[in-house]
Every structure is written in C-alpha cells, then in structure tokens.
C-alpha cells in the first residue's frame, strides 16, 4: 500500500454540476422535500378518525402499585378508552420481551421500577384531552426503597427490583468475561510500569430531535395492522410484534417514514408502541402516540453507564504489554440492551484498541437499578464508545506516568499494516488497517508540533491550553449470522433490485434512514455497479411490505451490510445483463467487456449495448439467449463474512479559563478511515455530527438522578446538548484502507466520531490541567467539575 500524495489537498465543496454516476460527492436526493417542510414524519400523519394516546407514568422510582382508579378519566367526554396494566394482564399483554431476552412491563401491574415507567394509558379525541385525562387517573402507590447507586446494587440488603423474575433474590443482571485472566496477570506481574485508573462513562441519552412515537391502524375486517413508527429496525419490530401480540406476521405492516434522528434511541420496542397497537385494536380507530421531550429523556433508551477500572501494563520505554478492566454496568430496571444475543456487553471486547499487546482481560458485572432501561444507544457501535474511551484514556494515563508524548506512545504500539488481518487477544479479527499514516495526517493537519510549542509558552504564562489525542478502531457492520442475532434473527440483510424496461431502476433496502441519506448513497452504490445514473434509481426503504427482510440501521451497519447487499445485487443484475448483451451483440459472453453502463465486444468498442438497451431487450418481444428468463432484476440476502474495522485519529485543542474553569474546544481535527468512500459529503456530515455528540458527552451531557431515583435530566434545560456556540468549525481529513471482504471495500462511518471524540476531548482537558497534577477527571467536564479538579478534588459523577 503506497501513500498517494493527496495530503493537504483541499476539496471544493460547491460542485453543483458534478453528478457522479457512482461514487463521489453528490447532493442528496431526499433534500428537496426536507427544505420545503414536506418531510413525512410520524407525527405528520393524520388519518380519518384518528385518536390520540397519552401515557400515565410513575412519579416513583420504586413503588408497589396498590390500585389504579380510572373512573373519572373514563367519564371525560372526549375519552374513548383507558387501559391499565391489569387490563393488559388479562390479555396476556402486560409484559413484553426486550431485545436482550429479558422482559419489560408494557404497563405496570405489580410494581413500578423506574421513574417514568408506564402505568396506564388514555385514548382520546385530541392530544390535549388525552393529557387532561391522565390527571384524572388515581393511582395508589406504596413507595419502596430504590436502588440508585450502581455500586451498592449487589449489597445483600439492597431491595430486590426484579421480583417478577422467579426466584430472583438480588439485583444481578449478568456476568461477562473475555480474554485470558491468568496470562494477563502474568504479564502484569513482570511489567516495569502498571497504571490503574477508575474511569466512569456516565449515563447519557441520544435525545434525537424527533421523539419516539407511532400511529397504529388496525383494520378489524381483514385483521391487518399498519404501524407507522419511529423505528430504526422495521423488519425486526414486525417479527417481535407478531410474537408479542400474537398477530400473524403477514398481517402486520411496519412503516418507518422519515425519522427525525435515531442514534440508537429508536432501536428498542417501547411500551408506547405496544400501547398504540392495543389502543387501535380496542377502538377500531387509528391511534397516534407521540411522547413529549420529558418522556423521551426519562423513559427511553439511555446509553453507557459503565463504571470501569482500567489497568495498563508497559515497559519503561513505552511498550504496552497488557490491558485489563473490571466493569460495573448499570442496565436499569429491565435489561433492554439492544445487542447481538451472544454479546451481552455489545462489542466492548475491542477494548484492546489499536495496539499490538500481549494479553488482555475483562470482567464485567451488570446489575439492575431503579432507572430507565436501555443501554446501547447514542451512536455507540454496541458499546465500542465505552471500550475506546477506556483504552484511550488509560493510554493517556500511561503517557502521563512515563512522561511520554501521547502521539509517540500510540505510534510505538500500533498494530502494523502487515499484521492484518489481526486477531486481538480478545478474539476479534480486524480486517484491515494502516494506522500510522492516519495519525501522521492528523498531526500534520493540526500542526501538532507548533501546538505543543504554543502550549509550552502559554503554560509559562499560566494559561491553560490542552492538546488531546485519541486513536480508535471500530468494529461495525453486525454481523456474520453464525454468531450474531437479535432474539434469534440473524443479522443478514436482504436487497432487491429491479431495472425497468426504460432503464430506470428501483432498489429496495432492508435498512432505513434516520437522516443518513440512504436514498442518495444506495443509489450511488447501484450506479457505480450498473452505470445507471443515481437520479434514475429510486431507493425504497422503511416499509416492511415493500422491502426485503433485514435487521435495520444501527451500529453503523447500513453500508457494511446493506451496502454490500446493494453492490452484490447490482452485480447479479449485471451478470444477467451480460447474458442478454451476448445475444444482442451475437458474441459469446467471454468476448464481452464491461465499461460502466455498457458492454462492448472485446477489441471493438463500437460494438456495444448500454444497460438501458439491455433492459428494454430483457422486457421486449425478441428472443433472449437460451435459458435466460425475461426481466432484469435480482435479489440477495447478504451475510457478512466479518465485521468491518474503520479507524481514525483525532486531535482536540482546548482552552480553559482559569477563573471560571470553562472549557472551550478551540480546534478539532478528525482524520477518519472508513475504507472506500461512497459520498464524501455525506461522510463528512456523519463525522461532524458525531464530533458534536462527543463535545456533548465530554463537556455537558449526563442523565443524573437524586437519591430517591428522581431523574434530574428530564428536559433540554437540564440535559444540555451542544449548540452552534459550543463547537468549533470541524477540520476533517481521511485516509482510505479498504475492507478486504466488503464487495466495494467500504467500512461504515456513522458512529466513528461519536466513538472517537470523547477521549480526545477529555485527554485535552486533562492535558490542560497537567500543571495541577491531574491525571484523570470524569465526564462531563462541566465548569464545576473542572473547578473541582483544579482544587485537587476530582470526584466521579456517580
């Protein structure tokens, strides 16, 4: 692999005339409707006779439900239906499975287990009346002691949260282990240097701008349910509704229309969706449920909440030998983690990062607490956010102890390009990577040496400037069906492609967009393979009646899995087109050469037929070669051979006001390597969004609770999300190391920046605080927490 010298090349971004027939910068096909306010989101739906549903939620974190009196609510003139947990229990619908083989209450029957848990619902003629009627429901609770502190959840005297589970006598959720404990201990025992640090990744929330919601429309005559819902996984949800509600799967249609951001928040099935279905079943009318912002923040899928002890062993000259960690994971009241079944800790196992080390070990204990369920969300690539944060923080702690430059320490320990495919000590096989050029490019773009010189000068003047580095390897594109499934559904993706007689095409995807631009990217993938302009290719997605089965959009899996499916289905169509072309040109198949968009006879470029002409012939009246059926279409179900492993090098520069301890992110340089790049504009957008998430998590965002389990982050006044003033103008760059097993070499990039940026920012803040002797401070690094650190009292956030 030789480096092509494009370093420092500056690309034009206003190239409106450039309309690539394949990969390249292309404006988005979905944008004309969005900029006109003509997007079609769930809450925009208005069906004849539609009713509105609102949910009554628990004010307590832990309480016994003694009685629910709905008399007054039912008497409200605009109320059509009031449903309690007891009513659902009669129908066998009070509990539903979670994506992690646990169960979760749809409406509480026995106890409430977190503040905000669903207790009853009302269906009324308008959304205001439904809310009014909630006030008329009288619930009698017997408050119980809550379990809030994850560290005491397993104390013998802790109240048992999940007494609904038979024989459950504690709050233990699961144990998980990876790597070799004895081998790791042996390496630690002989290491020159061992650094240990307690590192917390606090609970955060994806908080997409559009909250979760659904419109359920049950047709009582033909028994058909249509559900428009804010889901990132319409096919998986349909199957689960069939299992939960006992409806035949072919009578369920799940439509995921335009989605106002997902970030993992819209992967789980929430009780509200089931309530909307029940509401429509019982009233015979379409029923809409849209949660409000407080409901979204306090009850839907949170992310992270890992309390970690990280340890790193190294030689005195900076050779990393081993890493180990113990993790206490807070899974809330129900284990609602959305991860492949065999991976209860998601892909946390990649915590060995980008380094060639001798041994690694992780021991994890997950517990129940009286907090909202969830766990895998917020663009985390199935817990790789936590893994990358741990390794990149602890490597920086090592650099601190060794008084080594953090870039130099990383460069010294990188897995070398010739070692790929590389099997890590925890069993992951990294498909490809070339880390040093990525790190070098980031250094160059940042002007790293000049920054260090500036920092030295500023330190001498007592100013606080920090430079933070992170280098990540992601594992995305779940996944090989032999060991990856969600509740028994293999993580392969279908794709169908049909070329119409006039040469226009429609490609049907199993994945769904929440803003990633699938209508553009997937048209480009097919265009690259077939030479049909992307403008002539319609992308259909988000409707189970119109698309083949697949597991949905999360974990940066759309391009690695469905992108591969789209490329391969196009190649299948091209193979058939070749047969037809051989008949049209009256030569053997072997004599045909493909040049994007047409076949020609080898050695005679004039004798050619376009894909459009072939499409017409495929549907035409003339003879086709023997054994060739009419039509020009194909379908595929793509089962990835391995995950793809994108990587990146990030450098962050912060300034801290010594008077107020306020952190300002002055610069952020992100160099990403996601393999083959399909649409650089869209990739850049994905990276920018993730970097902003990183600023939020590192400096502002945290879902916190008081000792009674009251959620203190139930509004956007309390849960702070970065605005335009908290983030810099991002500086991005890229390297390209294609995936060897992906048909077009693409890797997936949606979550890279969310994964890679928090450690860079925290490392920068800690670097700025070096004069105070600080080696670690936990997120979120708000002014008050940074101030504490400057006084030598950095306390963990939980």
């Amino acid at each position: 692999m030789t480096a092509v010298s494009e370093n420092g090349h500056r690309t034009a971004f206003v190239d409106n005339d450039k309309k690539p027939c394949g990969h390249g910068r292309m404006l988005r096909k979905e944008d004309p409707r969005f900029v006109r306010g003509k997007g079609r989101y769930v809450d925009d739906l208005d069906l004849p006779g539609m009713l509105h549903l609102a949910i009554l939620r628990s004010p307590f974190a832990h309480a016994r439900v003694l009685s629910v009196d709905t008399t007054l609510a039912e008497a409200h003139p605009k109320v059509r239906l009031v449903v309690t947990g007891a009513m659902l229990a009669e129908k066998g619908l009070a509990w539903m499975p979670t994506l992690s083989n646990d169960v979760q209450a749809v409406l509480a029957t026995d106890k409430v287990r977190f503040q905000g848990q669903e207790v009853a619902f009302v269906v009324a003629e308008d959304r205001y009346a439904a809310r009014d009627a909630l006030e008329l429901i009288d619930v009698e609770y017997e408050p119980l002691d809550p379990v809030i502190d994850v560290r005491t959840a397993l104390s013998p005297d802790a109240p048992v949260i999940r007494d609904d589970l038979e024989g459950k006598a504690d709050n233990h959720c699961f144990d998980w282990e990876t790597g070799d404990e004895a081998e790791t201990e042996a390496v630690f025992a002989r290491a020159d240097v061992v650094v240990t640090e307690d590192i917390v990744y606090p609970r955060v929330h994806p908080a997409p701008m559009e909250t979760c919601g659904a419109v359920a429309d049950f047709d009582q005559v033909d028994g058909r349910l249509t559900l428009w819902s804010t889901t990132q996984a319409p096919h998986a949800h349909r199957t689960l509704y069939a299992i939960v509600a006992g409806l035949p799967e072919h009578k369920i249609r799940v439509i995921s229309p335009d989605i106002g951001g997902g970030f993992g928040n819209k992967v789980p099935i929430y009780p509200g969706y089931v309530c909307a279905i029940v509401g429509s079943l019982l009233t015979g009318k379409p029923v809409k449920w849209m949660e409000d912002r407080a409901e979204n923040l306090i009850s839907t899928g949170f992310a992270r909440d890992y309390v970690m002890r990280g340890e790193i062993a190294a030689t005195r000259d900076g050779r990393i030998l081993a890493v180990r960690t113990q993790v206490l994971a807070d899974h809330g009241a129900f284990n609602g983690t959305a991860a492949p079944v065999k991976y209860p800790a998601g892909f946390f196992g990649v915590f060995t990062g980008s380094y060639d080390i001798e041994a690694a070990h992780c021991k994890m204990t997950a517990v129940y607490t009286n907090k909202a369920p969830g766990g895998v969300a917020y663009a985390c690539s199935f817990r790789i956010t936590e893994a990358v944060y741990l390794i990149e923080r602890i490597v920086d702690c090592l650099a601190y102890e060794l008084a080594m430059d953090p870039v130099e320490l990383r460069m010294k320990n990188f897995i070398r390009p010739e070692q790929f495919p590389f099997r890590t000590k925890t069993g992951w096989v990294y498909d490809s990577g070339n880390y040093a050029p990525t790190m070098e490019l980031a250094k160059e773009l940042a002007g790293y040496d000049a920054l260090r010189a500036e920092q030295a000068e500023k330190r001498a003047r007592g100013e606080l400037m920090g430079i933070g580095v992170s280098f990540f390897t992601e594992a995305v594109g779940a996944g090989p069906r032999k060991d990856m499934d969600i509740l028994g559904l293999g993580m392969a993706d279908g794709c169908e492609l049909r070329v119409h007689p006039t040469g226009k095409a429609v490609v049907r995807l199993s994945v769904q967009s929440q803003g990633q631009g699938h209508e553009t990217t997937f048209a480009q993938i097919v265009a690259e393979e077939l030479g049909i302009p992307p403008q002539d290719i319609d992308v259909v997605h988000g409707d189970t009646d119109q698309t083949p089965f697949g597991l949905g959009t999360y974990g940066s899996r759309s391009t690695p899995v469905s992108g591969a499916a789209a490329a391969l289905v196009a190649r299948k169509v091209r193979d058939k087109a070749r047969l037809i072309a051989s008949g049209m040109l009256e030569v053997s198949v072997a004599d045909l050469e493909w040049e994007k968009g047409s076949f020609h006879v080898a050695g005679d470029p004039e004798a050619s037929v376009t894909i459009q002409a072939i499409a017409m012939r495929a549907h035409g009246a003339g003879d086709l070669p023997e054994g060739v059926e009419g039509g020009l279409e194909a379908q595929i179900c793509y089962n990835p051979e391995n995950l793809t492993y994108p990587h990146g090098a990030y450098i962050c520069v912060v300034d801290i006001d010594p008077g107020t301890a306020k952190v300002t992110v002055r610069r952020f340089v992100a160099v990403d390597d996601c393999g083959t790049r399909i649409n650089p504009m869209i990739i850049e957008g994905q990276v920018h969004g993730g970097l902003t998430d990183g600023v939020g998590m590192a400096l502002m965002e945290m879902i916190s609770f008081d000792e009674d389990g009251n959620c203190l982050s139930g509004s956007l006044m309390d849960y702070l999300i970065p605005t335009s003033l908290e983030v810099p103008d991002w500086e991005t760059g890229f390297t390209v190391t294609p995936s060897p097993h992906h048909p077009i070499g693409a890797k997936g990039v949606g979550e890279s920046a969310t994964v890679g940026s928090p450690p860079a920012i925290v490392n920068a803040v800690v670097d700025a605080l070096k004069p105070y002797g600080i080696r670690h401070a936990d997120m979120p690094l708000t002014p008050s927490r940074v101030w504490e650190a400057m006084q030598g009292r950095p306390t963990p956030p939980i």
Binding site: M209, E684, G685, G689, M717, S724
Partner: protein
C-alpha cells in the same frame, strides 16, 4: 374562541381552544406540518416560525396570541415555485441530515440575512444558537447560510473550500 391571522400571506380563521399552542395550530389545524415540535421548553427550536417578521418558538406562543398577526412558516419560504436561497444553500452545503431541525434553522437564517446580508460565521452561529441540531454539528449549517448570503449578493463566483484533506493508502 375564534382566531384569525395571516399565515404565509393567507388569511385564516379557526375555532380553537384558548390554550392551543401556535405550533399545534399550524400543524394540526392548518396541516402545515413543516414546523416541528421537539421540546416544549423553548430549547430546541424545531418549532421556529415568524411572527410579524420575528423568529419565535411556536411551542411557547399561544395560537390566540398570534391573532391579528402575520405568521410565516417554512412552507412560505418558496416563492412562485422558486426555492429561497437559504433553502438552496442548505441543499448545496449539506446543511441537513434528518431534516427535523431544518425548517426552524432556515426560518432563523432567513431572518438573519434580511437584516444582515453579509453575516460573519460568528454572527451566524449566534443567530442559530437557540436551536439544536443533532445531526450536522452546525458547520455545514453555517456554510449553508453563507452560501445563501453569497448567492443573494451575487458573489458566489468562485468555489469556496473546506478543510478536508486526505490521502489514499
């Protein structure tokens, strides 16, 4: 109660509840669903519309308060089949992803350019700082507004550049 107002140049009169929020009036009563609802607390700005030419958060304005006033929404940006330069800027510069915050962002941007045709990046960032976007990281929104400003000034002749660099290996 009855309320009358001008919405995107059209006189509308409806019978409403006094407590009805302007955002719900626009969305549910007029079916102008381009204005979105995102937080209830005036923090997110997906609901920004114009009230007599000023951007306001329609989740904290009662429909009744808009009675007798002029409201403009994202649906009113396009004129005579021509997209507003702000709308075009957002398309050209990838100023949107999921599209949910976009209408509010564009309404604020339009108001900014009307009073300051050549805003600096800082002025653009300040103008949109009461609104949240979870997808774009704001940089492309700033570029979009700048694109629109240049378009309107007739100065968008040379290609602007972005700080994207790369190498292939």
């Amino acid at each position: 109660m009855q309320v009358s107002m001008t919405v995107n140049g059209e006189e509308v009169t409806r019978e409403i509840e006094g407590r009805l929020l302007l955002v719900h009036f626009l969305r549910d009563h007029l079916r102008l669903t381009g204005t979105h609802w995102g937080c209830d607390t005036s923090n997110c700005g997906t609901c920004v519309v114009w009230l007599d030419g000023e951007p306001v958060k329609s989740c904290t304005v009662l429909a009744a308060m808009a009675g007798g006033h002029e409201v403009r929404t994202v649906e009113g940006l396009e004129q005579n089949g021509e997209l507003d330069p702000v709308q075009r800027g957002f398309v050209e510069c990838h100023g949107l992803q999921c599209g949910f915050c976009t209408p509010g962002m564009m309404m604020t941007a339009r108001a900014l350019l009307d009073r300051n045709p050549d805003p600096s990046d800082t002025e653009i960032r300040e103008a949109i700082s009461g609104q949240i976007c979870r997808c774009t990281g704001y940089a492309t929104i700033v570029r979009s507004v700048r694109w629109a400003a240049a378009e309107e000034a007739g100065t968008r002749t040379s290609l602007e550049t972005q700080a994207t660099s790369g190498s292939a290996s």
